[in-house]
Symmetry: C2
Subunit: 326 residues, 2 copies
């Protein structure tokens, strides 16, 4: 981890959920960190996320859709963590063009900018399991076909493919990690168009009645955000991963009902099971859990925080900070 000392690091989406947790770690490791965030109102950027490192990193408020600014931001950087994105699957269907601009066009534009302004940079990209679509077998490994079921998945896959092409043709080292359900402190809890995890955590803390869609038996795997940050850090200098896309995930799976049961340990709320609303049903992927053994074999990484401990820390973080997050 000493490799990060004095490295010039750019984190896109740096005030968001995973970006800010990564930023805190990198500042602690002695890196020279610049955060870029668009602060789009319905997105994850939140100044409260970087409270522990205010004054020890640079914050640049800008949108990755602005290519000209990006050209200056990438210059001289050693590492770029590309965590900015439109993350709502539902929003990608109701406003597909915005998803295209942020999750597709801006990724290509970032690579073009790096090719011209920072050809020696290393890039790490936060991708998603969503690009697999409905699993044909479980757990889903990297050989599984990619058949995205929504516009968000189409664009994340296109972005991964850009990174692979720019690695192959221009030699820019790019690694994509396909994230499963990530949760933890600094997660976006506002709104009801992100994944269920944030919505459930917020409602549990507020003591509201949680509605579970379907029958509650859908299986998922979860990664606590610190484990995901670790994964990005260990992937950074593994040259043999360049140009590849690898799964994160967890060997332990939970049904949505089991997830809610864990939440009940820390919060006082009720829950009920309701039928899927049609707009969710149309893009639901059924059971999903990932096989991350390829990434583990390459790097030694494995998740260390289980859901019980992770949700405990999450509730502990958010309970006194509700006013800052929703």
């Amino acid at each position: 981890m000493d490799e990060f000392r004095d490295r010039k690091v750019l984190i896109l989406g740096g005030l968001g959920f995973i970006g800010s947790n990564l930023a805190i770690r990198l500042v602690e490791l002695g890196a020279d960190v610049t955060l870029v965030d668009s602060m789009l109102p319905q997105y994850g950027g939140n100044l409260a996320n970087v409270e522990p490192i205010l004054g020890r990193c640079r914050i640049n408020f800008s949108d990755i859709r602005d290519r000209h600014g990006l050209d200056y931001l990438v210059r001289g950087k050693d590492l770029i963590y590309n965590m900015a994105g439109q993350t709502s699957h539902i929003e990608s269907m109701t406003d597909p063009m915005t998803d295209l601009e942020i999750n597709c066009r801006s990724q290509l534009s970032l690579l073009e900018s790096c090719r011209e302004n920072a050809p020696d940079v290393r890039l790490l990209f936060a991708s998603t399991r969503q690009l697999y679509g409905r699993p044909e077998y479980l757990p889903v490994d990297e050989d599984h076909p990619t058949r995205p079921v929504d516009v968000n998945g189409v664009h994340k896959l296109a972005a991964e493919n850009y990174f692979a092409v720019y690695h192959r043709v221009y030699g820019i080292p790019c690694v994509s990690l396909r994230l499963t359900n990530t949760y933890g402190p600094r997660q976006q809890l506002r709104g009801d168009k992100q994944g269920f995890v944030g919505i459930f955590v917020r409602m549990a803390i507020d003591g509201e009645r949680i509605r579970i869609f379907g029958d509650g038996r859908q299986l998922r795997d979860f990664n606590y955000v610190d484990d995901v940050v670790d994964a990005f850090l260990v992937a950074t200098f593994h040259d043999e991963l360049a140009g590849r896309a690898l799964n994160l995930g967890s060997p332990r799976r939970y049904s949505l009902l089991e997830f809610v049961d864990v939440l009940h340990r820390y919060c006082d709320f009720e829950h009920e099971i309701v039928p899927f609303p049609p707009e969710h049903q149309a893009i639901d992927i059924g059971d999903f859990y990932a096989d991350s053994s390829r990434f583990t074999e390459a790097t030694g990484w494995r998740p260390r925080i289980d859901l019980e401990e992770g949700l405990r820390r999450t509730v502990e973080y958010f309970r006194p900070r509700a006013g800052l997050y929703w």
Copy 2:
């Protein structure tokens, strides 16, 4: 084929290579045909292509990047053949943003327009083998991983995925056909940034010295344009193909040297073998031929014109029309 009589048909890229050949067939079959073409100077649109049907179809000069015009063009249509595209792999690397606008954004914009203005339309999309990347096995079937090696392949794959998502979520019937090397009358022969087929045919007719990159042993399969037009027509009303992407191809493969040998029968020219230029080498896919048996099983389609007969007709078409095409 009587199903096409009086159908209201929109062909995007209708003055281009495959679009114009399709238009001529559809007019002969009694369809009510509207052609849309941007007439971009380096692209395939050419008024000479539709000389046989001038006055028997509608021509609308416009660019599919213009969403507002598209909204009016799709209204009331029964069938849309989506053949417009940026087709140069090399150009997709030197000007990736234009490739994105045409091959990715405009496809999403077309689907959004259909969803709002023509929800009952059937869509057929001209996709490409390029999205497979370098083959891991041969012949390449539809289960082969999709690992595009250039930006063009990334975007064609994204477009296919849009069509599959819009079929699944909104019920719009969309079929993608993954074309291999298509050749024949009305092909674009200008410039040197398209595939080798057009370049070789033009140089052969002009008696120029053809340069073959590599060792000339790269294997390819070829489809004569009339066979490709047939494939789009038979796919149109096969409901079980909706939402899917299927290969075209040919059971007969030729090396580039064999291809040039066939050309020698009809034209007087010389050829030589030269090393790959680096920008071509970087995105070359090696041997490639497709397994189209899934499409054959579903529809009964198979290619009928072999390369010998197809190139004879191609040279016969272009020789007296050189001035109209280059």
